[in-house]
């Protein structure tokens, strides 16, 4: 069969501009303008080859200068029996919006996730992957992530694979990754299904070389899970909600005064509720809760797609805990804010 060799190019530019006001430390306030730019060049219409180049830029709040970097630069192609991706592309193993134990590369279990951003999972990495379909909803994938040539030798590469299939209506995903940078074997399993509501569950453990087995599991074992739903409400709106949690059974489960910003407890919960009116308006409420020290960061927000490609966004973030807690109203650590307001606009064209 003859397939056309030409490709159609499309260029999409997205600009997000915000003004931010935040309280740093106990009582000092600061503010800045923030800008994000993304330019995407896509080649489509060739049945067997796709490619995309995305240049992202962020403004430096101090100087206003724009720093550009390559967010995506990949070519994917398919032959009968397999398909491949080479370049800098999204890595999306496992399930979960904020907590995803299946993401054994980036470790998407960070309590420090910036909940003020529009997308949580946009991490990309340089890779070569080979994907073999095993059925309509099953495939096996092998992946090779080259080392950073400036900072590491060839033995610092990462190699792995995963198997995705569906058994009795439940999606089953399992995989492993050998991380040469710290000679660690990483394994995970993810299940996803529906029992009245949609749910997902993931578990992962890391096995560093030289670390005795029980100790390695204790240090790294993480479980994430979530439930989520999309419901039409009335005749004019859609209600999305999700609840995710991350549990590290062998981490700290007793409340204490945190000594550093990076210190975490054994359990966190992420609830999110979003109501979309059909007029393009969205009201949202998301939070990160630390049940052990009874603190939370709460983020109410509003967005409105007023004109074609033009959206107004406002988000407020505030902590509720006491000083020394994970999400304090007046945090003691630099780099953390107990209260911030962000208002801005985004344009896509």
């Amino acid at each position: 069969m003859f397939y056309p060799l030409y490709g159609k190019n499309s260029i999409t530019t997205k600009m997000e501009l915000y003004n931010t006001v935040l309280r740093t430390g106990s009582d000092s306030w600061t503010g800045s303008g923030l800008g994000k730019l993304s330019v995407s060049f896509k080649q489509k219409n060739n049945r067997n080859v796709r490619s995309e180049l995305v240049l992202n830029g962020t403004s430096d709040p101090a100087t206003g200068d724009l720093s550009l970097f390559i967010s995506k630069a990949y070519i994917k192609f398919k032959f009968p029996g397999f398909r491949a991706v080479i370049g800098k592309a999204p890595f999306s193993w496992g399930e979960g919006l904020v907590f995803n134990a299946g993401d054994i590369l980036f470790g998407s279990d960070a309590v420090t996730t910036n909940l003020m951003q529009s997308e949580f999972q946009d991490s990309t990495t340089w890779m070569t992957s080979l994907n073999v379909p095993l059925g309509p909803f099953s495939f096996a994938e092998g992946i090779y992530l080259p080392p950073n040539i400036l900072s590491a030798g060839l033995d610092a590469s990462k190699e792995g694979g995963r198997l995705v299939t569906k058994l009795a209506g439940i999606k089953l995903e399992t995989g492993f990754l050998y991380d040469g940078t710290d000679t660690t074997q990483k394994v995970y399993v993810t299940l996803q299904g529906n029992l009245v509501i949609n749910w997902h569950f993931s578990a992962a453990a890391f096995f560093p070389k030289g670390d005795p087995f029980p100790n390695a599991v204790k240090n790294s074992f993480v479980i994430t899970g979530g439930i989520y739903s999309i419901n039409r409400i009335g005749y004019a709106g859609t209600l999305n909600w999700r609840l995710e949690t991350m549990v590290k059974p062998w981490q700290e489960w007793k409340q204490h005064i945190l000594a550093s910003a990076g210190e975490n407890y054994g359990i966190y919960v992420y609830p999110e509720i979003k109501y979309a009116f059909n007029s393009g308006m969205v009201l949202l409420l998301r939070s990160m809760i630390s049940p052990i020290d009874s603190s939370a960061v709460i983020i109410p927000g509003f967005s409105w797609n007023v004109f074609q490609g033009f959206t107004v966004i406002t988000l407020i973030s505030f902590g509720t805990g006491s000083p020394g807690s994970t999400f304090a109203w007046k945090p003691e650590f630099t780099g953390k804010s107990g209260l911030s307001l962000m208002a801005g606009v985004s344009v896509v064209y």
Binding site: R47, P133, N231, R232
Partner: protein
């Protein structure tokens, strides 16, 4: 003589009556014919959705594939949602977001969410589900809408699990496509009005290719669906309705 002359007249009248009775369709039959007209073995269409409100116009475009009564795939082609896909299988919904190469699998209530921001849900879209499953239908006679002779059919919800408790449809007597639909709340307040502006005959089906939905509770608010191209039984690329096709 009288009886001999009268007999054929009575016979003709009787036959005419019988024929008329046979030709008079029940509201259920009319609705089934409407649904048969809108059900295809497979289709491919390209369309545009224009949402108008007091701030102006927003456009979105898409390519849609359907196969049988329980498979459909919609790919958005506009700038803002470029590459986002929705795959609907019998009892599952897959959402694909290309920026993160993320696939979200949904089942259950998610199938009741609206397709392309319209009033149609994924459940409604599946050909194995009939209007008659959700609504009791009644004939309200016949009316002429813009010069088109129509059956006027009233729909009353059997359950609370539908967006509208009542609907009134004017269905073209020749093509069995709706010409106008009113969607009402339980209190009989009109919530939305759907008008078919343009149709196209493809094979034996009459397709609505320009349709406007007006929200009667909002001033200057409407959603227009325009089908630019529509093919019945096209060659659908292999893998369109599986995970590999979704992520390609």
């Amino acid at each position: 003589m009288y009886s001999i002359r009268k007999a054929p007249v009575i016979s003709v009248m009787f036959i005419f009556l019988l024929t008329s009775m046979a030709a008079a369709l029940t509201p259920e039959q009319i609705v089934r014919k409407l649904e048969a007209n809108l059900l295809y073995p497979a289709s491919r269409s390209k369309g545009t959705i224009i949402i108008t409100d007091r701030f102006g116009e927003r456009r979105s475009s898409y390519i849609s594939y359907t196969s049988g009564s329980d498979k459909s795939m919609v790919e958005f082609t506009g700038k803002e949602e470029s590459g986002q896909k929705i795959l609907r299988l019998k009892d599952e919904l897959y959402l694909y977001y290309p920026d993160a190469e993320e696939v979200i699998r949904l089942q259950g209530a998610a199938l009741k969410q609206s397709v392309l921001g319209s009033d149609m849900s994924y459940d409604d879209m599946a050909g194995d589900k009939s209007i008659l499953d959700s609504y009791s239908v009644y004939s309200e006679g016949e009316e002429t809408i813009d010069g088109t002779n129509c059956y006027k059919i009233a729909l009353k919800a059997k359950t609370r699990d539908v967006a509208y408790q009542k609907q009134i449809m004017w269905i073209n007597k020749e093509t069995f496509l709706y010409v106008k639909i009113l969607q009402l709340a339980k209190s009989d307040k009109i919530l939305k009005e759907i008008t078919v502006n343009k149709t196209r005959k493809i094979n034996s089906h009459t397709i609505p290719v320009d349709m406007i939905i007006r929200d009667t509770l909002k001033k200057k608010s409407s959603t227009e669906f325009i089908i630019d191209t529509f093919e019945i039984n096209p060659v659908i690329p292999e893998g369109t309705f599986d995970l590999q096709g979704l992520c390609w």
